[in-house]
Point group: C2
Chain length 89, copies 2
C-alpha cells in the first residue's frame, strides 16, 4: 500500500542526508525529539502539519518543494510495472 507518511519521511530524509546533517541537528533546529524525527523519516509516525512545517524550516526547504517531490514519488509508485516477456527466447 502506498502511504503518504512513507513518502514524506523519505523526502525529508533525502533532504537531510543531502545537506550532510544529523538527525540530532535537524531535530534540535525543528524543536522536535530525535526519536520523533527518526520515526517520521522512516514513515512510522504521521507528522502533524505544524511539525512538518517545523522540520521543513529546520531543513531550509519549503513545504511546497517537499510536496512536489512526494507527489512525483507517489505517482511513480502508482504506475503499474510493465514486464516485457521475450517470446523469442
Amino acid at each position: 500500500m502506498i502511504l503518504l507518511r512513507t513518502h514524506i519521511g523519505s523526502a525529508l530524509r533525502t533532504s537531510r542526508i543531502a545537506q550532510g546533517r544529523t538527525l540530532r541537528d535537524v531535530a534540535k533546529s525543528a524543536r522536535v525529539s530525535l526519536g520523533y524525527l527518526s520515526e517520521v523519516e522512516r514513515g512510522q509516525k504521521e507528522a502533524s502539519s505544524e511539525l512538518l512545517n517545523s522540520i521543513c524550516s529546520a531543513l531550509n526547504i519549503s513545504l511546497g518543494e517537499v510536496l512536489v517531490r512526494v507527489s512525483t514519488q507517489v505517482r511513480v509508485a502508482e504506475t503499474p510495472i510493465l514486464t516485457v516477456v521475450d517470446d523469442a527466447a
Copy 2:
C-alpha cells in the same frame, strides 16, 4: 501559516463537490464517520495515511492526483504577493 491538512482537505472537498456527492455518501464508501470526513475536509483533523487512501478510493481518485493538486496549491500559497504601487497617481 500554510498547513498541509488544510490543503489536503480542500482538494478532497473539491473532488467530492465536483462529483456532486454528499459527505454521507463518500464517508460511507470510505468507511469513515461523516464527522471525521467533514473535519478532514475543513482541515480540522489530520487524516492518517490509511484513511486518506480510503477517502481517495471512495472518490475514485489516486493519492498521486490529490498530491499534485495539493503541491500546486501550496506553492501558490507560498508565493509572496507582489503589490504594484502606482507612483504616478
